[in-house]
């Protein structure tokens, strides 16, 4: 195995594209090194992107923030601006693993690991985040929603790496929230998770919403019917019940050592309902 520390995104992309064998990107490493130690992956090349200029920066852009791919969860969690703008996104990222993991783990790494239960992805999708991808011949943008393809599979070609994620501006009177269910209060992989982002009119009615579920399907799932259940409402009980039902209907989870199909299906609806209420309050709604 070779270890490379390129200083530009283009060099990184070329190194990855040129590698005939197995190549992996190293940002935080909190997924990669676990797989390496367990012998699940035996890369011929590891490309450490932490030394590429800009990838460890959080820069304001177009009313939102561009988060470098090598920004750790701890660093993001300490950024007052991002916390104020998209608290749900920050909640998703800072729930990943322990304090120690937070010191390393990155949003981009969490996204590229391709786990259906990735904590940062639902809120990113709810917020409409866009990933900036560098390839051997230039960069492109891709909505975070389109990146996960299935367990361990992502929509990046060989040689492509995510160099940053753009969190867009947040419209007035809007808010987001992320909740996940884990048996313990910390340290577990999410058994079910839900992110909600919504915008209110000046009367407190929902005019726009995105409801996104995690760990209940092969990939993160944007649930349109759930969003529609909120549109035009002030999150009355009926609306929340409809939201929960729509979420449960959108689930296609598995039974595994962490949860059952019945449990994930029911709890996804509960979490979506609770996250919606938090987002509603953050948007200025009173319930």
């Amino acid at each position: 195995m070779r270890y490379a520390k390129p200083e530009t995104a283009t060099d990184a992309a070329r190194l990855l594209a040129a590698e005939p064998g197995v190549a992996r990107v190293l940002a935080g490493g909190t997924d990669l090194l676990v797989q390496l130690k367990a012998g699940l992956v035996e890369p011929d090349l590891i490309v450490d992107i932490k030394h590429i200029a800009g990838l460890r920066d959080i820069t304001p852009e177009a009313g939102g923030f561009r988060i470098g791919a090598a920004v750790s969860g701890a660093q993001l969690g300490e950024h007052a601006g991002v916390r104020a703008l998209w608290p749900g996104v920050v909640e998703g990222v800072t729930l990943i693993g322990s304090t120690q993991v937070q010191g390393r783990a990155t949003m981009a790494g969490n996204l590229c690991n391709g786990s259906p239960a990735a904590d940062s992805v639902p809120a990113l999708v709810a917020a409409g985040a866009v990933a900036q991808i560098a390839g051997p011949d230039g960069a492109r943008d891709c909505p975070v929603l389109e990146i996960p393809l299935g367990p361990g599979r992502i929509a990046l070609a060989k040689g492509e790496i995510i160099i940053s994620i753009l969190l867009p501006a947040r419209p007035a009177r809007s808010g987001d929230a992320y909740l996940r269910f884990t048996p313990r209060s910390e340290m577990d992989i999410g058994v079910a998770s839900a992110a909600v982002a919504l915008t209110l009119d000046d009367g407190g009615r929902v005019v726009a919403a995105r409801v996104v579920l995690g760990a209940v399907a092969p990939t993160v799932r944007l649930v349109a019917p759930a969003a529609e259940a909120l549109i035009g409402t002030r999150l009355e009980d009926g609306a929340l019940a409809a939201l929960a039902a729509a979420c449960s209907a959108a689930c296609s989870p598995i039974d595994d050592k962490r949860g059952t199909i019945a449990f994930r299906t029911e709890v996804a609806g509960v979490l979506a309902r609770r996250a919606a209420v938090i987002a509603y309050h953050r948007a200025g709604g009173r319930k």
């Binding site: 367990a38 048996p183 313990r184 910390e186 577990d188 050592k257 059952t260």
Partner: protein
Amino acid sequence: MALDPTGKRIFKVVGTRPPRPDGIDKVTGRALYGADVSAPGMLVGRILRSPHPHATIVAIDTSAALALAGVKAVVTAADFAPQTDPTLRDIQDNCMARGTVLYDGHAVAAVAATTAAIARAALKLIKVTYAPLPHVTDVDAAMRADAPVVQAGRALESVPAGMPDNVTHRCEFGHGDLDAAFGGADLIVARSFTTAATHQGYIEPHACLASMTGDGKGDLWCCTQGQFNVRTICAALLGIEASQLRVTASEIGGGFGGKTNVFIEPVALALARKSGRPVKIVMARDEVFRATGPTVSSSIDVKIGMTKSGRITAAEADLRYSGGAFPCLTIEMGAQAAFAAYDLAAVRTIGWNVLTNRPKEAAYRAPGAPQAIYAVESVIDEACQKLGLDPLEVRLINAAKKGTKSSYGPTFDDIGLLATLNAAKAHPHYRAPLGPHQGRGLSAGFWFNFGGNTCVSLNVNTDGTVGVTEGNPDIGGSRAAISQMAAEELGIPYAQVRTMIADTASLGYNDVTDGSRVTFAVGLATIKAAQDATRKMCARAARIWGIDPEAVEWVDGAAVPAGPNAGKFPPLTLAEIAAVSFQTGGPIAGHHEFNADGAGVSFGVHLCDVEVDPETGATKVLRYTVFQDAGRAVHPAYVEGQMQGGAVQGIGWALNEEYIYGPDGRLQNAGFLDYRVPVASDLPMIEAVILEIPNPGHPYGVRGVGETPIVPPLAAVSNAVSRAIGVRMNRLPMSPPRVLAALGAKG
């Protein structure tokens, strides 16, 4: 020895909270554990483990592995002379499978190489041809006539004819006429329970460094709860005399019963002998889960009869335990402990051990008792609910006390259950108000506690300090307690005593650190060794004063004339006598070697408040209080530590911990991510209330406290959850999916 007005001894050092002797090394990272030591020329050993839950080993081809540059030795079962003694044969076969692999993770071969990477690569080059066999992992399924046979011909004489091969033992305890007693009950409650296998969960994986000289002398450094036991077993498995093998116990990173036997030690020694070089083996975490000893999984039926006023008239239990692929007698402990807290006219417990394709059981803190008491305390709580009785009052009515004929046979001497129950009743926790979706659970439990083979030597140094050499690895702070007892008996300050743990060449045989025996038995031996030393020091003083040794006694750290007519001499302190010890006869030391008996049981009562989220089934522990009889708390902080640590292991066992096997018989959660031990943010503070009902069998009244704390919590948590959701829970762990399903079923 000073006495208080009521004639009870006043202790100066015992009962205080001095800093422990190994504290500074542990907080600075200097303490050396199993994996922290290396040796020149050392090879790295790694073990190849079966991916199959049950298979015949058709062939093992190690030639490619041996040919790999850097590989210095490969061993398989062929490198171990077969054992005739069944217990040793099981241990040997568990360390290295012979002919058949019996569980996922069973060791098949091992290599020693110059680097870890080469050792890992070599494992991949070992070609093992397996012929998979049908497997069974559930205890009840394994008991059926059509169940796959894990091992044939292992049934003891206790097993009735015609039982399936997997049933290896049947035991029965109890007394009285059950039918008549059940007849006298107003309410009969019968319920079945299952508990999953759980692991001790020590954070330090097994690790050892072995070396063998050309003439067959072995040296073994390892993390263990019993270096003498390791020597006995390894010497037998390697075919060398015990005197040829010296075992040194490293600091131990947790054990809880799981490091009372051997897994990698004989393999490392065999590799060392074959390669002629030191070999270090350190288990990976997944190996610890797959191939070291979880406690038994269980399936239990309990039936009790209770009068309207809360008197238990009759009690019966059928307990089915599986200790994995090798026979195991833990069922005897569970069957005896089940109803031990109760004064019963008629009681019977029948216990079974059943083989399954799971790793070989190792003791886990009061082995067998937590499962049994979980079932019993759950049924009693259900009866209290049905009769509208206060669960604590019902325990008080039925509590075993001095003179009670115990459910396992003997009549109890002084025991602390009543005092412990009354302490719980008087405690504010028991009457604190509860909110919605909250419940309070109560549970009482005990552990037998042992004495066992113990040797201590106590050396008086010429500078007046004292070295206590004992043979029991110290997990929970026992070195501090032993130093306290030595200082107390010698009448010198604690700081002048240092307790060290000897290797097997430096002290007589000591039983393993288990059975909550160390503070009791090693403490007792230390006191007697101190008395041996003070007798010798009194004799020296007598010779210095020219009077009869009988006329000298030891008081407050000095030799003094015994009474007025013995002569007027100023006291000779230990330091003064020690300073002239060379001139008065030579170095002074006290010794004591014995097989200690007279251990006193320790009872505990636990109170647990939980809140259950009705929409997700998640359980949050809000408050937890432990009441336990320590007889005499030598170092209260470490007694509290045992109470808090045991309670939290019990909470983990009740809520989230389990060995999860799929239909393929492979362990699915062999890591700390999905084998979910409680983390700091899961828990409230654990309040520990120590009671002291002295044990007549110990000069200071000491009772073992280490194991009792894990016995009550399973039911304390389960009763709390059951009351919070209004559904009796009967399966552990109560993971959120199961609680939510129970809530859904309730409608």
